[in-house]
């Protein structure tokens, strides 16, 4: 699949997984749709599958005119040489990708793994909390904690039963697994913080809580653990351009200090992160994003009138009214 061996040195290369080619192709080898907004892409990139660690993210460019969007790595398979991204279609780029990213197509750009890997040693009893966009990326963390011998309590939140995915994967690596749904159609009825309360009640000796999800949810998680003095790590999801520490767009305030999420994070102490600042900064381009999405859905309807797969105008309006279009960033 990978063209061109390096000239004259194939012998020396034997046994190494390192491949070099003039332009890597980032082929999509599998896709799964969890709901009408959430989809999974498995992308062939053996080198990245080998390098990726839980908590890291990638930057994706779907086409030449596209924007660079950060997405947390939801899984990686070193044997198959693939990485997995779980994406929620909330903005222009992620909706466009929902249509264009089919098995056999390739991404224009994929770079990573970026960010400092999560620390998955130390704690004996860990709660891994994923909400909304954060459910998929919390999975490799739960697995890594388990592999390192910790007692893992998985807590995930969905709006309703139909949106639940990867339950089997979580059950396989968690010692306890709590699903929370807003309407109670699966697991317990309530918010993710209710799940956390439940877990803390049963296990007062939880040593660490890791939360990934929309900022408002991570903020609630941090507040839930603060009175119990449980170490809380959150994976922040600001707007990024390069992901290599160069633009400073992803800066967050942590304990009064400015940190760049792409190179200093994305994991920070949840009790120190200034979530209000983070949420305010996530709205930086909401106008531009809305305009782009509207323009795009317009052009889709023009090209393809009455196509059932496309969001109708009011649906798109609703999606945009959700927490923030830029939460597509780094959620997965």
């Amino acid at each position: 699949m990978k063209p061109k061996n390096r000239r004259g040195s194939s012998n020396a290369q034997a046994g190494s997984a390192v491949e070099t080619s003039e332009r890597r192709k980032f082929e999509i080898v599998a896709r799964e749709d969890f709901s009408d907004v959430t989809y999974l892409l498995e992308i062939h990139h053996p080198l990245m599958a080998r390098a990726a660690k839980p908590g890291q993210f990638v930057i994706v460019m779907s086409h030449e005119h596209g924007e660079r969007i950060p997405l947390t790595i939801a899984d990686f398979d070193r044997l198959k040489g693939t990485i997995t991204l779980v994406i929620q279609a909330v903005g222009k780029t992620t909706r466009e990708m929902q249509q264009s990213c089919q098995v056999g197509t390739a991404l224009y750009g994929l770079v990573g793994p970026m960010g400092v890997p999560s620390h998955t040693g130390g704690a004996r009893k860990v709660a891994c909390v994923g909400g909304g966009l954060g459910v998929a990326p919390i999975f490799p963390l739960a697995r890594a904690f388990k592999e390192n011998g910790a007692y893992v309590i998985g807590i995930v939140g969905f709006r309703t039963k139909d949106l639940v995915f990867w339950e089997d994967k979580f059950r396989a690596c968690c010692d306890e697994f709590i699903i929370c749904t807003n309407d109670g159609s699966a697991g317990i009825k309530g918010l993710i913080t209710d799940g956390i309360e439940l877990a803390i009640e049963k296990h007062p000796d939880i040593g660490e809580l890791v939360a990934i999800g929309p900022p408002i949810m991570m903020k609630a998680c941090a507040e839930a653990t603060r009175p119990h003095k449980i170490k809380t790590v959150v994976s922040v999801n600001p707007i990024m351009v390069d992901g290599t520490g160069m633009c400073g767009g992803c800066r967050v305030k942590v304990g009064g200090q400015v940190k760049f999420a792409c190179v200093d994070g994305p994991d920070f102490d949840g009790h120190q992160v200034d979530f209000d600042d983070l949420m305010s900064r996530l709205r930086r381009f909401s106008q531009a994003e809305r305009a782009a999405t509207e323009r795009w859905s317009e052009s889709c309807r023009m090209k393809n009138p009455g196509s059932p797969g496309l969001p109708s105008p009011d649906q798109s309006g609703e999606a945009l009214a959700l927490p923030d279009p830029f939460e597509e960033a780094k959620g997965g």
């Binding site: 770079v111 793994p113 400092v116 992901g243 160069m246 190179v263 531009a288």
Partner: protein
């Protein structure tokens, strides 16, 4: 030489550079300087005195044979001029545009003592542009020597190092984290100063030397420097990752929406083409009244980009005076022409919000110059009680950058206390076979200085690999530019032999 030229006999006036009209150009991204025509170039070439001890060569960080190429232009041997430049500088179309010539070659030109110095940069650019138009490239005969060299970062340092190593016969791969090669030339310098086609052409020239460019590759995270040496069989590695980590002022309000680094503004606009939004997906914030803090070349670029994006008023806020401004004289002049307003001896102390998380204004303080500081420039000190409010809705910080931290985080290379990679005089790092140069060693500097560092590292790498001629070249840097042995220039580095293991 037909007749001896003197300061009296040469054309007294510089050939002027044709430029886009300031009002028109402030609204488009086309190049400001249109370049010399043939007549202009011949006129300007006539002004070079061909001094025997050419100060300009000393003034050039890579030591281009400046009088040599100018004489060739004068003799209408344009291809010869190109060949001569490309012996030392593979990227004349770029350097002719972005070098600070007034503090390098042109700054020491003897003609400049009485008249305006020879417009060396413009002539270099003319030759470079001609080569692109004519499709010239100088691909020497390269005998592969079996060495594999990895270059981290495709900016000016990496490109220069890659070119020298490829010419020496090495199998060179350049890694770039972005999706396009060029580094700061691509994301930082706007099109109206350095068009993308010029970068494309120069990168293509490097490809013709057999250099492979691998974009979308974040070295350090995808694989480490150690892995390059141990597992990927690189015989030598050059790190030129630059100093791209933007500094913020750390004043209240600097995380408000509408406050961003010049790097972010320029990357969105140049590399990601946000100015063509929504045809390109990346958005860019557009202010009505923009304040750019700082007065270096990056600040000038940011100011002028904001104008072109449609800002009504663009202000440059600098805590020293114009005399201390580190920007290229031409850029300052262009910015002024285009309507940028300068506020010297002014420094922001706080950014004020509008209650909705956006910028409303800035509180500034007046400065005055005190005693000279470590840089030799007079230190600006605040004037007590001189604070005032300055209305603005977008603030851009262009106050400098720090070392990129990724290689430091992911390798065992020794860093200095500011996070730059520690390298000795030959640019060797603390790890055998690993060299570093450019901004990641020295801190933020110019394109040509980075290229100079890339070439210097290449000499050291050749010496390290035992490639012939490398040590001689390293020792007699720039000395024997006229020395020849059996008709072969002593500085000739276009060939090499395979090392007998």
């Amino acid at each position: 030489m037909a007749k001896k030229k003197t300061i009296r006999t040469i054309p007294q006036k510089r050939a002027p550079m044709r430029q886009q009209d300031a009002h028109r150009r402030a609204k488009n991204f086309e190049e400001v300087n249109c370049g010399y025509g043939l007549e202009d170039a011949l006129h300007e070439a006539e002004r070079c005195l061909d001094c025997p001890d050419a100060a300009c060569i000393e003034g050039c960080p890579v030591g281009i044979d400046i009088p040599g190429f100018i004489m060739k232009i004068g003799a209408k041997d344009f291809r010869g001029a190109y060949d001569l430049i490309t012996q030392t500088n593979l990227l004349p179309a770029i350097c002719g545009r972005v070098c600070p010539q007034e503090s390098q070659c042109e700054g020491v030109c003897p003609v400049g003592e009485t008249l305006e110095p020879v417009a060396i940069g413009r002539l270099e650019r003319w030759v470079g542009d001609l080569a692109i138009a004519e499709g010239w490239s100088n691909i020497p005969y390269i005998e592969p020597n079996g060495f594999k060299v990895g270059i981290v970062g495709s900016g000016p340092a990496g490109m220069a190092c890659a070119a020298d190593m490829a010419k020496a016969g090495c199998d060179v791969t350049v890694y770039e984290a972005f999706h396009q090669a060029g580094g700061v030339l691509r994301y930082g310098i706007p099109d109206f100063r350095l068009p993308n086609e010029v970068i494309d052409a120069e990168v293509d020239n490097l490809r013709k030397l057999g250099i492979k460019f691998e974009c979308n590759t974040l070295v350090g995270r995808l694989f480490t420097i150690e892995q390059m040496i141990d597992e990927m069989d690189y015989d030598a590695v050059f790190i030129g990752t630059g100093a791209g980590y933007p500094q913020l002022m750390g004043i209240p309000g600097d995380s408000l929406n509408g406050v961003l680094s010049a790097n972010e503004l320029l990357t969105r606009c140049n590399l990601m083409r946000a100015r063509e939004f929504p045809n390109y997906d990346t958005p860019v914030p557009i202010g009505r009244r923009v304040a750019v803090i700082g007065s270096g070349n990056t600040a000038m670029d940011a100011l002028r980009v904001c104008l072109r994006l449609g800002a009504e008023k663009v202000h440059c806020i600098y805590r020293r005076t114009q005399a201390e401004s580190p920007a290229r004289a031409e850029e300052l002049h262009h910015a002024e022409e285009e309507g940028v307003e300068f506020h010297w001896l002014t420094s922001p102390v706080e950014i004020l919000d509008d209650g909705k998380g956006k910028v409303r204004a800035m509180r500034c303080i007046r400065m005055e110059l005190g005693e000279p500081d470590a840089s030799g420039r007079r230190r600006p000190v605040p004037v007590a009680g001189s604070e005032f409010e300055f209305e603005t809705d977008m603030v851009v910080f262009a106050i400098g950058t720090n070392a990129n931290p990724i290689i430091g985080q992911t390798s065992k290379l020794n860093l200095d206390k500011r996070g730059y990679i520690e390298a000795d005089a030959s640019l060797a790092t603390s790890m055998a076979g690993v060299f570093a140069g450019g901004d990641i060693v020295t801190g933020a500097a110019t394109v040509i200085e980075a290229m100079g560092a890339g070439r210097k590292a290449a000499r050291s790498m050749k010496a390290y690999l035992g490639i012939r001629n490398a040590d001689a070249a390293g020792l007699t840097e720039r000395q024997g530019s006229s020395g020849k042995l059996f008709g072969i220039d002593l500085n000739e580095r276009n060939f090499a032999r395979v090392r007998v293991a």
